[in-house]
């Protein structure tokens, strides 16, 4: 592994802040980790390393703030943000519909922007802030968009709803909820199999008209 990648590894890991020895250890562990990543089982066999140990090396550290809570997790590079949330952190509010960017059920906000978490690699969210459906309510007080979805029956089965609500909040924040047409266009990345679209649009229009902080 080339020295120069050292600095490029997960944010902050490359900079020489704080304890230099600790920093060095971190760097060298990381370099080893990255150098070992695929074909690791082969390497493990060649070097007579226990495969279980090798598996640990395959993971990279990721610092991520989710709904205001800081997490430091170890993930394989191939893990998506969606799978990290659901499988590793038990935040199952975010749904897996298609897993290929085609339905919007997995919509979350990364640094305030809505994205499809199924096509986002978790390692690439290192150092960023993520908001999921679990992060919208303030304690027992629902977010205005959640209230509006309930009031307008913006769902039937509810499977697409977390993604719809995350997208709807972003739609209003972006300034793309100016008319019914605009809402429909900017909500097109969220498919609802139950066809709750008219009610979803009504919910968004009401939140937008109410002028509340979203």
């Amino acid at each position: 592994m080339d020295e120069q990648y050292n600095e490029g590894l997960p944010d902050g890991q490359g900079q020489s802040a704080g304890n230099p020895r600790r920093d060095f250890l971190k760097k060298s562990t990381l370099l080893t980790a990255v150098a070992l990543t695929p074909g690791v089982a082969v390497k493990a066999a060649e070097n007579h390393v226990d495969e279980h140990v090798a598996a640990v090396f395959e993971k990279l550290p990721v610092d991520i703030e989710i709904n205001g809570v800081k997490h430091n997790v170890l993930v394989e590079p191939r893990v998506t943000l969606l799978d990290l949330l659901r499988e590793q952190l038990n935040l199952t509010g975010t749904k897996k519909g298609c897993d290929y960017g085609q339905c919007g059920a997995c919509t979350v906000h990364v640094d305030g922007h809505r994205v499809n978490s199924c096509l986002t690699l978790a390692v690439m969210v290192d150092g960023k802030k993520v908001t999921t459906i679990e992060g919208l309510a303030k304690g027992d007080e629902l977010h205005p968009m959640q209230e509006a979805f309930i009031k307008h029956d913006g769902f039937q089965c509810g499977y697409c709803t977390p993604g719809q609500i995350m997208s709807a909040v972003a739609c209003v924040r972006e300034g793309h909820a100016g008319s019914e047409m605009e809402i429909r266009e900017y909500m097109s990345g969220n498919i609802c199999r139950c066809g709750a679209y008219p009610n979803i649009v009504n919910a968004i229009m009401e939140v937008k008209a109410g002028g509340q902080q979203v």
């Binding site: 080339d2 120069q4 990648y5 600095e7 490029g8 590894l9 997960p10 490359g14 990255v34 150098a35 990543t37 695929p38 074909g39 690791v40 395959e58 990279l60 394989e76 590079p77 191939r78 998506t80 897993d99 290929y100 960017g101 919007g104 919509t107 922007h113 809505r114 994205v115 499809n116 096509l119 986002t120 690699l121 390692v123 690439m124 997208s167 972003a170 739609c171 972006e174 793309h176 429909r184 266009e185 900017y186 909500m187 097109s188 990345g189 969220n190 498919i191």
Partner: protein, 326 residues
């Protein structure tokens, strides 16, 4: 998904060194690459995340705008300068994918998204693009979405980008960094036709990085239109799309730019039709004639003959909108 290594260099130099190694692949927004990796269609050993490079800005340069390759599709679509000077590009970007995907998709990634078709995605089926020499499943298969221009026996897929159609029409230039420094390539020469090398979508070498796209100033802002026709109103790939831009002086067309999407292995610039418009009045008769010229050489397959009617109608409609006559 197959396991892979992941690195995140912070200098262009280290990115270039990394991508020169076999088995490596750049990742930007990931919205095309991760999708293809999940399907097992692309199987890189190592991803080189370029998001730490300072290539995210849209800035003014002499005679135009400079768009960094990491600028997001949503960001460019809403950029004040782009909206004012190149509304065609803004419209095309907003016609692509969904709001979420446009927040992930970068300009470089959008250009580099694979020219593809459903057979390309199914690793159990033959596809010359995925597996050269295995045959083209679409040629005799279900080819409704496929090309009507520039295809070969080897591959009849279309490039799915909307952004690229507008960039082709607007005479953009691609700025590319490689080991030997930078080179500039006209956008229209960036993507390739399939010929005998269906596995190649474009002329970027494996060890090169797209740094930016530049678009020169023009007189088209007042009269341009991007028309996208798809199976549903939004969030679907184009059956046919048209980027039309006119410079109209007193009712007469001084110059024109026309390109189509959804019809070829690359964004399909219609230079003959552009020439046919010059000096003509901006009216229905001129637009119909241009559409006729544009369609010369078009050829359909079993399921996409509808495009032979849809494409010229779309050209006329886009030109009519661009001219402000709709």
């Amino acid at each position: 998904m197959k396991q892979f290594q992941y690195i995140r260099p912070i200098t262009q130099q280290s990115v270039l060194a990394a991508i020169a190694q076999p088995g490596t692949k750049i990742i930007a927004g990931g919205s095309n690459l991760v999708d293809l990796m999940k399907h097992g269609v692309m199987t890189p050993d190592k991803l080189v995340d370029i998001n730490k490079l300072p290539l995210r800005n849209v800035s003014t340069v002499k005679n135009g705008v400079h768009i960094g390759s990491l600028a997001l599709n949503s960001q460019v679509a809403e950029d004040k300068q782009v909206v004012a000077k190149f509304p065609l590009l803004s419209q095309a970007l907003n016609a692509g994918a969904s709001a979420q995907l446009r927040n992930m998709a970068t300009v470089g990634g959008n250009m580099m998204q694979r020219t593809r078709c459903p057979y390309f995605y199914d690793v159990a089926l033959p596809c010359n693009k995925r597996n050269p020499g295995s045959g083209c499943g679409a040629l005799e298969g279900f080819n409704r979405m496929h090309a009507i221009f520039g295809m070969s026996e080897q591959c009849i897929a279309v490039h799915p980008s909307d952004m690229a159609v507008a960039m082709a029409a607007l005479d953009a230039t691609v700025i590319i960094a490689g080991k030997k420094g930078e080179r500039r390539l006209p956008f229209v020469d960036f993507h390739r036709l399939p010929g005998n090398t269906p596995q190649l979508d474009n002329n970027l070498a494996k060890d090169e990085l797209i740094v930016a796209v530049e678009i020169p100033e023009n007189n088209y802002a007042a009269h341009s239109h991007y028309l996208k026709i798809r199976d549903r109103a939004s969030y679907a790939f184009a059956l046919v799309s048209v980027a039309a831009a006119l410079d109209i002086d007193n009712g007469t067309i001084r110059s024109a730019r026309l390109a189509m999407g959804g019809v070829a292995h690359k964004p399909w610039r219609l230079t003959a039709a552009e020439k046919a418009l010059v000096g003509k009045p901006a009216n229905a008769a001129s637009f119909e004639q241009a559409a006729q010229v544009a369609m010369q050489g078009a050829k359909a397959f079993k399921d996409n003959a509808f495009k032979l009617k849809l494409a010229p109608a779309a050209i006329i409609e886009a030109l009519t909108h661009a001219a402000g006559l709709a």
